[in-house]
Amino acid sequence: MSSVTYDHVVKRYTSDLTVVKDFNVEIADKEFMVLVGPSGCGKSTALRMLAGLETITEGQIRIGDRVVNHVAAKDRDIAMVFQSYALYPHMSVFDNMAFPLQMKKMSRSEIDKRVKQASGILGLDNFLKRKPKALSGGQRQRVALGRAIVRNPKVFLLDEPLSNLDAKLRGQTRVELQKLHRDLETTFIYVTHDQVEAMTMGDRIAIMNAGILQQVGAPGEIYDHPANLFVAGFIGTPTMNFVPVTMENGNAKASGFDVKLPKPVGADKGILGFRPEALTDRIQDDGSTLEIKVEVVERLGSDQFLYGTAGEDTITARVDPRMKVAPGDRARLGLDLRGIHLFDSQTEKALL
């Protein structure tokens, strides 16, 4: 149990290849922090620096109050679950889980007790004598978790642990991991490229892109108040609509519609963003409206997605499935002003 601090951390391989740039995050004790971003954004490197598997070029990483820059991986007292699970193929499930305890020179009876306890939690009691080869993907994943749990570590690191599971198992394991976090009361740091995992599991999310931390915050906060264009586009499916606008008298003017801005901004050009669900078929008198030419309709039962254009801009809308609309129709939709965002067209930072 411990907090983790990244203090101006940089990872540079060569003078022109920097994969993590000035990374600053404080992760509280017992927090579930998710590092999310597209592949190659530096999130795994950030995690591996904390684990001691990569050196830290600049800055400090602290576990609790202890600076770990020059502490060997084996002495950091953290547990890590690898994407490939990295189970020792020549050892039984029991020995795989016992290995970190043997490294701590724990007594045989204590090892036995802890492994049995972990295998009980994870439902592995009947597989303790098997080799990893004889297990299914989901079971292997649980052994990897077990190997981490038995140690009762200060920090629990998970590097894309669900990406080798099929969709159904991934959903189940997601829930189990959250339960596990609650039961273990340990700091979890979880790396993923999957924004659904990030949104559903994290107490807080740190979004990275191209080695730079974009925004840190609770899932709802990031969803509702993205700090910049990248975060706005990365979180949410289908992605947010982005429309270039010019400002006139407190109005944002797009190619096919106008929107009254809730407060004045000091820019005459920008990018207007609104999520598909900010569009609705119920039009309020005082609200903004826009007309889209519908090209594709997707009915999902619970939702209905309309893909079309307003003026020259492509628009996606998520509307009530009972709305009657067909490809080729022109549909007038209401725009909920609480759900609009405005970004600077140069810096891409949020203006509202």
Partner: protein, 331 residues
């Protein structure tokens, strides 16, 4: 160069270049033609034999048949009379210093020292070079002796071990070091029965370490980096990681390389032949067999030695094949 000699060989050359592929082609096409005539059910079981038959023929004609012939010869006198086990008796009766016993003792030295040291050095180099920059360059250097023929290797080391009397300049590398660095009397490396066997084995080890290193290095690279990282995070030091993770995972390969080396050790001939010709107590079975056959004109004795060697190799061979199959099955 006398071109006329070459010209007289032209017909042979034509037969070889045109004839051999033609015969092979005709065999394959003809075999396939005949297989097509067979009923559907028989085809699957006949076709493999068509393809395997040439190899079977060559192995039988050039390996199995001579081996059986050797067994017969080992029970016969020079004149071709059946004399039972007399040839074996002559080789084995004078324990511990007569007949084949010196060679058997030396083969045991080879078996143990050569195998263990080559495995040890191969493993050590594979693990160490895995962590250095320019790995491929260093590994190529260690592997280089493999490109030298065993005879050339023997000649090189004969010079390395060369002896000159104490008052003469030492042209052998080792004695130059002994005399000039350690200020000792030069040693007769290849004639002193206390050291010469080890000198020969050392030369052979130098020649083959690259082989063991390259194969073990490939096995080492086959271990996923994740596993080592996981072990590090689990709190294991580098030596523990080697002992508990790397070595167990390399074990099947170590066993295959080890048994191959045992067979090499039992077959040792060329280095001994070139460097000491088996004199001064350095004889090995293969060299003894050669001497008995070509120098002593004793085919019965030579065949007996050959059979003794064959019997020693067979169990290792079987074990090696089984192990190899086990490694393949694990893939």
């Amino acid at each position: 160069m006398d071109l006329s000699l070459l010209l007289t060989d032209v017909p042979t050359l034509v037969v070889v270049i045109v004839g051999v592929p033609a015969v092979l082609g005709a065999y394959i096409l003809g075999g396939e033609f005949l297989v097509r005539r067979l009923p559907d059910r028989a085809r699957g079981s006949v076709r493999p034999w068509i393809w395997v038959a040439p190899a079977l023929f060559f192995v039988t004609a050039f390996l199995v048949a001579p081996a059986i012939g050797t067994v017969f010869t080992s029970f016969q006198s020079h004149g071709g009379d059946w004399i039972g086990l007399t040839n074996y008796q002559r080789q084995l009766v004078d324990f511990p210093n007569g007949g084949a016993w010196i060679a058997i003792r030396n083969n045991l030295y080879w078996l143990v020292l050569y195998t263990l040291f080559v495995l040890f050095f191969g493993l050590l180099l594979a693990v160490l070079f895995d962590r250095v920059p320019y790995e491929s360059v260093v590994k190529s250097l260690i592997f280089m002796p493999m490109a030298i023929s065993a005879v050339a290797l023997g000649v090189i080391w004969k010079f390395m071990f060369w002896y000159q009397p104490a008052d003469a300049p030492q042209t052998g590398t080792l004695n130059a070091i002994v005399v000039n660095v350690f200020h000792q009397a030069p040693k007769t490396w290849l004639t002193d029965p206390n050291v010469n066997n080890f000198a020969l084995i050392a030369a052979a080890i130098w020649g083959i370490t690259g082989f063991s290193m390259v194969i073990l290095s490939a096995a080492l690279k086959g271990i996923p980096a994740d596993l080592l990282e996981a072990a590090r995070v689990d709190g294991a030091g580098e030596i523990t990681i080697f002992r508990r993770v790397i070595f167990p995972l390399m074990m099947p390969t170590v066993v295959v390389v080890g048994t191959t080396l045992v067979i090499f050790a039992l077959k040792a001939f060329d280095i001994v032949y070139v460097m000491t010709a088996g004199n001064f107590g350095t004889d090995v079975l293969a060299n003894r067999m050669y001497k008995l056959l070509y120098q002593a004109d004793n085919p019965g004795g030579a065949s007996a030695v050959a059979i003794i060697l064959l019997l020693a190799v067979i169990p290792v061979l079987i074990f090696n094949l089984r192990q190899f199959r086990a490694v393949e099955a694990r893939r």
